[in-house]
């Protein structure tokens, strides 16, 4: 059980970290704000989600596992809202950098 759980953790957390790396690269390299938002949202939602699922086998108890899932859901909610608000500002007023 613990061997399989550890493998799941290593694979998923690595994948999540790679997504964060790719998202950060996109944030630094993409030409305009909307594409940069797109890149960072991927890292936020999917990357954090993979890391949370990857950490679940290491949770000591049921509530210990539920907490990171709640963190992920709340992070998704706030990240999605922030992206929408930023994108909206740029859409309305393209002169803003």
């Amino acid at each position: 059980m613990s061997g399989l759980g550890d493998i799941v953790t290593v694979v998923l957390v690595t994948a999540g970290a790679l997504l964060f790396l790719a998202g950060t690269l996109g944030l630094l390299r993409f030409p305009d704000t909307l594409s940069r938002l797109h890149a960072i949202s991927k890292a936020d939602n999917l990357g954090l989600g993979l890391i949370v699922i990857g950490l679940l086998p290491q949770a000591a108890s049921l509530t210990g596992g539920l907490k990171p899932i709640c963190v992920w859901l709340l992070a998704q909610l706030s990240a999605a809202t922030a992206s929408q608000l930023l994108a909206r500002t740029i859409y309305r007023d393209p002169a803003e950098p």
């Binding site: 909610l77 706030s78 999605a80 809202t81 929408q84 608000l85 909206r88």
Partner: protein, 310 residues
């Protein structure tokens, strides 16, 4: 491996600190300061001080940065007659800052090893307070006077902000709602507060036995209230409203009343009677959490911008 993480953390902190200092553009510097606060919180976690980490992230990172961002937005676009600082003035500031850094560095380097500590004494007396978290015991039992003054300082800061209101608007409501509320903001303001309020109350309640406490809980509650005010779901209150004033004063007032009752029942200012320490501390913390939440929200909301309703 953890040493590598620590070195990276320190390098990031130093780089961000330099960036904040040399950045010409104010908004960029403030956002860097916010990131600095978050990283400093991580550093406190690495030093095994989760209570300090939570406060640092909530107040040092989030709260301060929001206040600065709002101040920057208020000043943006105004005709600023900036007087260029003279070379001598710049040198004086640089010398003073360098002297403080050098003094601090000297003080840290000359600390006796092992450092003098009161930690064993704090843990030993913990049973008398009935608390499980030694940090809360220090804040509300051993060094309660510091905590009391700390909360009064927050109120004084709010008095400073409120006094910026023009005479005609004194006692009126601050203006936090944008002219058109974006739909995503309105959605977030409907979905998030139920969770935020539960998390805030949990942070206050768990503070007696685990990391958490009034400032952390107050910040979360203040953020939820501000979110609802910004989305226009609830109007910003008149600053002269009695209920608001009671909420603001309640925490420090209850603290002072219990402190003076200590003369009668426990033989000294800020002393708790035997066996009643925990319920009294929890009562003070509850009132303080409400006061801190109201004060922080009103600090961010700013001075009155509308005439008071009469």
């Amino acid at each position: 491996m953890t040493l590598l993480l620590d070195i990276a953390l320190v390098a990031w902190l130093l780089a961000l600190a330099v960036h904040v200092a040399v950045q010409q553009e104010e908004r960029s510097a403030i956002i860097a300061l916010l990131a600095f606060g978050l990283l400093l919180g991580l550093a406190w976690v690495r030093l095994a001080a989760p209570d300090v980490a939570l406060t640092e992230i909530a107040i040092g990172g989030g709260g301060t940065a929001v206040l600065l961002l709002r101040a920057e937005a208020a000043l943006r676009g105004r005709d600023r007659q900036e007087e260029e600082m003279t070379r001598a003035g710049k040198l004086a500031v640089a010398a003073a800052c360098a002297a403080i850094s050098a003094g601090l560095g000297f003080a840290v380097l000359t600390l006796s090893a092992p450092a003098p500590t009161l930690a064993p004494a704090a843990s030993e007396a913990l049973a008398q307070t009935g608390l499980g978290n030694p940090v809360t015991a220090v804040l509300l039992a051993y060094r309660a006077l510091d905590t009391l003054l700390e909360k009064v300082v927050v109120l004084l800061a709010l008095v400073g902000v409120w006094s910026l209101a023009p005479d005609g608007l004194w006692g009126g409501a601050p203006d936090v709602k944008p002219s058109a509320v974006p739909a995503p903001l309105s959605y977030l303001a409907r979905v998030l507060p139920p969770f935020g309020v539960v998390i805030g109350i949990y942070m206050f309640w768990v503070g007696a036995d685990a990391p958490g406490g009034t400032f952390q809980a107050g910040t979360v509650l203040a953020a939820m209230w501000l979110l609802m005010m910004m989305a226009g779901l609830t109007p910003a209150p008149d600053t002269a409203r009695p209920l608001l004033r009671i909420a603001l004063m309640g925490g420090p007032a209850l603290f002072l009343v219990i402190a003076f009752l200590g003369f009668v029942f426990a033989g000294g200012f800020l002393a708790y009677p035997e066996g009643f320490a925990k319920p009294l501390i929890v009562a003070i913390e509850a009132a303080l959490t409400i006061s801190v939440a109201a004060a922080l929200a009103m600090l961010v909301a700013g001075p009155a911008r509308k005439a008071p309703a009469r």
